[in-house]
Amino acid sequence: MPHCSQCSHCEDDPGAFERMVPGLGSLSSGYGESKGETALCRRHNMFMIPGPGCTEFEARLAAARTEAAP
């Protein structure tokens, strides 16, 4: 089962998060517990908690596997 955190569109790195949201590091942190597993899906422009991948990701993964097959 594909998972969002394996997807190239999923951004959850704490440092990248701080750089992405201006002001986040001024009164909060990407390295704190309150961030939890919060991630940004760049494909859907939506914050989320990574979980089972969406249908688009599944299709992309299947296509990539087919292309890589001998």
Binding site: G25, L27, T38, A39, F47, P50
Partner: protein, 460 residues
């Protein structure tokens, strides 16, 4: 395509968190460092050593009247300050490196931060500083803002300006001087007051935003929790819960930062004009400020102005940290359930589950409680005379001084990382919805802190 496949099938861990949080999250590092310092302090105290007391030196209480006095202080204590600097650099540097922050960026930034902190303490230690309201927290904030907005520092230096890490460490150290009996007796009052205000403010922002201005309900949820519970951290948590867009979080962060700074600068002076006692003002600031770091700056500044910093900080801590911060996970879960079951949001990512309450729980608060219980137990049965002669100067004062260092690092870092030109612009509708909430928050907080529970907070 091959690289894409590598990216999507990289074998990255499916579920993050768990045990690795113990060394990857700054909440846990604040606990390890804070409790480590407390245990070391008790060990030195028990052995009659004054090493930690010497190392916890700061020039803030010097009350110098001539510049020569200040220079002489630094000249006489240069080796001690050098050791203290090295100790901070090692513990912060090592922990940040383990969390994934580049040491090459952290170290030069921290050197700058330490030097600037020393200058802030030096200025605040001037005998006439309080006459001109040059309290260290406000001074640090203003000078930090001036440097970041008018002189400019490279952005990579933000790696060393760890606002939240410093304030969390300060809160754990604060726990050591916070009697556990006070937490037990005052906690329920603080929770009751904070919950009332949080609910009213959040619902106000949400309904004004959705019903009056027709804004996206996800944005209003992010704004509502940001303005009522836990500022930027609350906004970030709710953004994930409701599937908010990037612009929603940008808007909330901008509004929280701007309003938090306005309130840091004005609440202490309004409290002074109203003649509020330090405890009452601390409770009011605790219900009005959105962020821990910003609130500590305001409460600490007013406490110094009113001549009772401890009361202001204690009331603020009870109200904000215990009354409001603890509920971030519950708010997150509630909004996740509403967005999934009522709003029928697009299904992406994990479904909400009760574990979210624990995952979002601000763990550093555990360190605060443990430090409070530990020192309360250690000092139980100490006579008032021994407390004054021995325990306070040799056991508690070093912890207070180190806490002051952590807070000054934090207050400077707020200013140094806030670049107004980088903040995203927001529309007037979100601005008004949020501002109405701020107004309700401040007024209701004042009524409850001053008129309903004023007698209670005034006794702190």
């Amino acid at each position: 395509m091959a690289s894409n496949q590598a990216s999507i099938e990289s074998g990255a861990s499916v579920r993050k968190g768990g045990w690795s949080d113990l060394y990857l999250k700054e909440d846990w590092w604040a606990i390890w460092l804070g409790l480590g310092i407390v245990i070391l302090d008790v060990a030195f105290f028990s052995n009659g050593s004054t090493l930690l007391k010497s190392l916890a030196l700061n020039p803030g209480g010097l009350k110098w009247t001539s510049f020569d006095q200040l220079l002489a202080h630094f000249a006489n204590n240069a080796p001690t300050y050098l050791m203290q600097f090295a100790a901070w650099l090692v513990i912060f540097g090592a922990s940040c490196r383990i969390m994934g922050i580049k040491l090459g960026e952290f170290m030069p930034a921290f050197v700058f931060l330490y030097a600037l902190s020393m200058a802030m303490f030096g200025i605040a230690g001037w005998a006439n500083a309080s006459k001109y309201n040059m309290e260290a927290p406000l001074l640090a904030l203003l000078i930090g803002l001036f440097i970041s907005n008018f002189i400019g520092l490279p952005k990579w230096m933000d790696a060393g300006f760890r606002v939240e890490y410093f304030v969390k460490l300060g809160i754990v150290l604060l726990g050591a001087t916070f009697p556990i009996s006070l937490v037990a007796t005052a906690g329920p009052v603080a929770i009751g007051q904070a919950m009332t205000i949080s609910l009213v403010t959040c619902l106000t922002i949400f309904f004004v935003g959705t019903r009056v201005f027709g804004l996206d309900r996800r944005m209003c949820a992010v704004l509502g929790v940001g303005g009522s519970v836990c500022g930027v951290s609350g906004s970030m948590a709710i953004a994930a819960s409701v599937g908010a867009e990037k612009e929603h979080l940008y808007t909330s962060v901008t509004l929280v930062v701007v309003w938090a700074l306005i309130m840091i600068l004005f609440l202490p002076f309004i409290s002074q004009a109203l003649g509020l006692s330090a405890g009452v003002a601390g409770a009011w600031i605790g219900t009005s400020e959105f962020a821990d770091a910003a609130g500590f700056a305001a409460a600490s500044a007013y406490g110094k102005m009113a001549g009772n910093e401890e009361a202001a900080i204690k009331a603020f801590t009870l109200m904000k940290v215990i009354g409001r911060d603890l509920w971030i996970g519950i708010w997150s879960l509630v909004f996740a359930l509403i967005s999934t079951m009522v709003w029928e949001r697009k299904e992406i990512g994990a479904k909400p589950d009760a574990g979210e309450v624990w995952r979002r729980f601000p763990k550093f608060v555990i360190g605060f409680f443990v430090a409070s219980a530990f020192i309360s137990l250690m000092t139980a049965g100490v006579t008032p005379e021994d407390m004054k002669k021995t325990v306070k100067p040799l056991l508690l004062d070093p912890l207070n001084s180190l806490r002051t260092w952590a807070f000054i690092f934090c207050f400077l870092s707020i200013g140094l990382t806030t670049r107004f030109r980088d903040l995203k612009s927001v529309g007037w509708k979100p601005f008004l919805a949020f501002t109405v909430g701020v107004g309700v928050n401040v007024v209701l907080g004042y009524v409850l802190s001053v008129h309903v529970f004023g007698e209670y907070w005034g006794k702190l």
